[in-house]
């Protein structure tokens, strides 16, 4: 029995089916200020974003939400760490909920529309966004 080419073939099979190790990373960043949203439940916020009723994921990439891969607006990684909302409001629960529920009132020239989301829903969404602490390197 010929061993030479068989060995070569066996090595090739092993090489081709070999696994690629993935590097994992992540570290904790300090959160500035209050991130507690009154009346907001992160789990319900996640459900609202997943159902995509208001189209959030169409414009934003939102970690943890399937099909939220939009590039129209900014990605929402690390929302808990950001300093400003919409480039003008300090990032605190009140401002974030206001912005989500009525961006046109804060900035009529913004491309982000009033989606018809209620203040209660916006609070849930904000609560979910404040669970996001990782920013991809």
């Amino acid at each position: 029995m010929g061993r030479g080419p068989l060995r070569i073939a066996a090595t090739a099979v092993l090489g081709l089916s070999g696994c690629v190790a993935l590097a994992a990373c992540g570290d904790g960043n300090a959160v500035q200020g209050n991130r507690e949203v009154a009346g907001g439940e992160a789990a319900r916020g996640k459900a609202i974003l997943t159902a995509n009723t208001h189209g959030c994921g169409g414009c934003h990439t939102i970690p943890g939400i399937p099909n939220a891969h939009g590039t129209v607006g900014p990605p929402l990684h690390g929302m808990a760490l950001r300093g400003y909302v919409a480039g003008r409001l300090p990032n605190d629960p009140g401002n974030l909920v206001r912005w989500i529920s009525g961006p046109q009132e804060i900035d009529p020239r913004s491309a982000m529309p009033d989606t018809g989301i209620t203040t209660a829903e916006a609070a849930h969404v904000a609560a979910y966004l404040y669970t996001l602490r990782d920013i991809p390197k």
Partner: protein, 338 residues
């Protein structure tokens, strides 16, 4: 019907898992019309028969493996003759006849009632729905087929590009949309419901997001819907600057090259394009992008600015060059087209 009751028990008992959510059922085991119901009954009978035969055959094999001393002396040829030839032969003969009978039972072409005629045209990756012979003239809409409960609906299917397949599991089986051919399938819905259907023949990059909603309505409600859809939408209230701006933006951005909005057929930027869905009453639809997003101002804005993020390979480019105010106005204007 009893078999379906058993099926329902199994479904509720969790064997078959949870029911579909707010998007409308898409399950062949949750029928909402006589054809799908008959096929579901037939499926349960087939399944039960297959299970019995499977268990029987495995029991015979297991008997031979586990109790080898008991199986000696069976004349093998008789065993093969009865088990391998006569039994399957008779079973399949019965099944062939049953198949033909079920096939006829779900064929409503000879239904005494005059059907509502609808044409569904496949596109990569959305559905055009046409009601060609309504009293008030033809009606064109997209990704949504509204039908009256109880009346047969003859759906003629064809395609503008590649092969697609029309499938609303809760009403009936599939029918392919083939270039150069007109296939027909007749549906009946037995109760008011929102049903989801989906393209079933692989049609390219966004085959997964080519959904269609069937809304079965009481006949009176259906007539009302038709009347509203046939009406040309009112121009926006001049006092609502955002809506006026949205309409202007729609025309000036060139949306009318691909889309129709009835009532905007005049002028240098007429909305008479035939490449994309008719948007005359887009605000009244359940979804946008053939099921990829629910309807609403937010999703519309997202869709306009980020089609290619949401549904890469769709035939519409992302209009992220519109300024923010224009984008939001445009989304609100489209949403207002109820």
């Amino acid at each position: 019907m009893r078999t379906r009751a058993l099926g329902a028990v199994l479904v509720k008992g969790g064997l078959v898992g949870g029911l579909a959510g707010c998007g409308g059922t898409q399950s062949a085991l949750d029928p909402r019309g006589p054809a799908a119901a008959t096929i579901a009954d037939f499926s349960w009978i087939l399944f039960a028969g297959a299970a019995v035969i499977f268990i029987g055959t495995m029991a015979l094999a297991a008997y031979g493996v586990l109790l080898p001393d008991r199986t000696k002396g069976v004349p093998p040829i008789r065993f093969i003759l009865w088990g391998g030839l006569v039994f399957p032969g008779v079973t399949l003969l019965v099944l062939t006849v049953a198949t033909a009978m079920v096939g006829n039972a779900v064929d409503f072409r000879t239904h005494p009632e005059e059907p509502l005629r609808v044409t569904v045209v496949g596109n990569m990756f959305w559905w055009e729905v046409v009601y060609p012979d309504l009293p008030g003239g033809p009606l064109v809409t997209a990704n949504e087929l509204r039908i009256p409960v109880g009346r047969p609906v003859e759906v003629t299917v064809t395609t503008r590009d590649v092969i697609h397949s029309f499938w609303v599991p809760a009403l009936h089986g599939k029918m392919d949309l083939i270039p150069g051919r007109m296939n027909r399938i007749t549906l009946i819905a037995s109760e008011p419901a929102i049903l989801r259907g989906q393209c079933a023949e692989f049609c390219g990059e966004q085959h997964a997001w080519m959904a269609l909603f069937v809304v079965a309505l009481d006949p009176a409600e259906f007539d009302g819907w038709i009347a509203r859809q046939q009406a040309v939408p009112e121009p926006p209230d001049p006092a609502d600057e955002q809506l006026v701006r949205g309409r202007t933006a729609f025309l000036e951005a060139g949306c009318g090259t691909c889309h129709v909005i009835r009532g905007l057929a005049e002028g240098p930027y007429a909305a008479v394009g035939q490449l994309g869905p008719d948007l005359t009453h887009v605000g009244s639809r359940l979804s946008i992008g053939a099921g990829v997003l629910p309807n609403g101002v937010g999703p519309l804005a997202a869709w306009i600015a980020g089609v290619q993020d949401i549904k890469s390979g769709a035939r519409m480019p992302s209009y992220s060059t519109l300024d923010g105010e224009t984008l939001t106005a445009l989304a609100r204007y489209l949403e207002s087209l109820k």
